[in-house]
């Protein structure tokens, strides 16, 4: 019996939504870690029972939770994220140097092959790795120390490393993104890094084509073709055909190209999804109409998907980690909103249903396809 399990992180706890392969009826469990901010929950591709959760609080700091039974029970593992070596500085909002300070884990990315290896993207931006299932963490400090770190600066939401993509064809290669520094790539397992921002144009920084300083909101790739990357930038939807060496804009006919999420259909590498947001000043859908836009051509030509989504008086946001796709034959697409709704489509976006309506603000949505 196939099924799916949605892992939903919210401002006030985690929720697990499960369904069979039809994806019509859903069971909701939670809140897990009630009252804590759950920035991200993600399962191991190598062992779906192994799930990691980032649990944080302005009062009590950061926790990492781990489940080995598919989210039924949890154990707190190590929560020490100590920067490696000399801290150094990045730019503060006023342009002055500011020492790195750990605040929280934004994103957890389990290894594609080993459930005990897991990466964590944190604020202030750095990448950590655990090789023992979260029992200890070590910084991959080649990223922060590669040279451009002193030029990085926080976006309005903080200077966070929010995206980690592992290349399924090359275990030494991974991509990360930082707001507001940009995208970076390693080809040696995280030892050395290079900025991959050529082709990005950001009018909100002094040099719009600078090597770093771009507010990248999210990256996505299809596992069959990891050299093709998609990006939702602060403004602009971008595409790279050469693993990030160069980018070109594919916003095309989108009504606005501001947004946070971007994702790729599980079986069609040229089919991508975004949720356009009105502007950087108004973080809600254009005209109060919540619309996912789909391109079947890898960008430029986009169609609005509206069936089942509110088309009036909708003023929610969809945050960067709050969209995911399952791998069932008819690809399921899911996203959560700051209004607490989780929407799902069992037909690749043609139609949508409200899976759950009144959760706390949704920070992240991940999906596990279960067999």
């Amino acid at each position: 019996m196939t099924g799916v399990r949605l892992l939903v992180g919210t401002r006030k706890g985690a929720f697990i939504l499960t369904s069979d392969g039809k994806r019509q009826d859903w069971d909701v469990s939670g809140p897990h870690f009630a009252g804590w901010e759950i920035y991200h929950v993600k399962g191991s591709p190598a062992d779906p029972n192994r799930i990691y959760a980032s649990q944080s609080s302005g009062w009590f700091g950061q926790q990492i939770q781990r489940s080995s039974d598919g989210g039924k029970t949890w154990e707190a593992v190590d929560n020490t994220f100590a920067y490696d070596g000399v801290l150094g500085t990045h730019q503060w909002y006023d342009g002055t140097p500011h020492p790195w300070e750990f605040k929280r884990v934004w994103h957890i990315e389990p290894s594609l092959t080993d459930p005990d290896i897991v990466y964590a993207g944190v604020e202030d931006a750095a990448l950590f790795q655990s090789k023992d299932g979260g029992k200890s963490w070590a910084e991959l400090s080649g990223l922060r120390g590669h040279g451009s770190g002193p030029k990085w600066q926080p976006g309005a939401g903080g200077m966070c490393l929010h995206t980690i993509l592992l290349d399924p064809k090359d275990p030494k290669r991974m991509f990360i993104a930082i707001s507001a520094a940009g995208a970076f790539r390693t080809d040696d397992g995280g030892m050395t890094w290079r900025p991959i921002n050529q082709g990005l144009k950001s009018q909100y920084i002094p040099d719009p084509t600078a090597e770093v300083g771009h507010c990248v909101h999210r990256l996505a790739l299809h596992p069959s073709r990891p050299d093709v990357l998609y990006m939702q930038k602060h403004w602009d939807v971008m595409r790279s055909n050469d693993a990030g060496n160069s980018w070109h804009e594919v916003s095309g006919n989108l009504p606005t190209d501001f947004g946070f999420v971007i994702d790729v259909h599980a079986h069609e590498p040229e089919t991508i999804y975004v949720v356009p947001i009105k502007s950087d000043a108004e973080h809600f859908p254009l005209d109060g109409q919540l619309r996912v836009w789909r391109s079947r051509t890898g960008g430029n030509d986009w169609e609005p998907l509206t069936k089942g989504l509110p088309q009036s008086n909708c003023y929610v946001n969809v945050l960067r980690d709050a969209m995911a796709v399952d791998t069932l034959d008819s690809c399921g697409v899911y996203f959560g909103t700051t209004g607490g709704q989780v929407y799902g489509s069992a037909d690749a976006g043609d139609s949508w249903t409200t899976i759950v309506r009144d959760l706390p603000a949704v920070l992240s949505v991940e999906v596990q396809t279960l067999s």
């Binding site: 009252g35 609080s57 009062w59 009590f60 950061q62 707190a76 929560n79 020490t80």
Partner: protein, 99 residues
């Protein structure tokens, strides 16, 4: 034995019901010794009350005892006598936030 009252989030996090008691043994009864002993008994509390690196009290927590805010006492200053004797608890309190 020193009695400690934790905020509800931390009680749940550490699977604690009600007050906890902490035995400092021969150690001087200070804030630092108390928190060291508490974290030793409940390792999941490490980093939740004091910052991992600096060991400073987290900004939105306060330490109350005997109807006084002792958050700003030096960590190696003696705890109040009534806390040491167990007559009064040491309260770890989350700051009120919201509106």
């Amino acid at each position: 034995m020193i009695r400690v009252v934790l905020p509800s989030h931390l009680r749940k996090h550490a699977n604690i019901n009600g007050e906890v008691t902490v035995d400092l043994g021969e150690a001087a009864a200070t804030q630092r010794a108390l928190l060291d002993a508490l974290e030793s008994t409940y390792p999941v509390l490490r980093g939740t009350i004091r910052d991992h690196g600096t060991q400073k009290r987290r900004a939105f927590l306060r330490f109350f005892a005997c109807q006084r805010d002792i958050s700003h006492e030096p960590p190696d200053a003696p705890l109040p006598a009534e806390v040491i004797s167990g007559a009064r608890p040491f309260l770890i309190v989350g700051a009120i936030a919201g509106g």
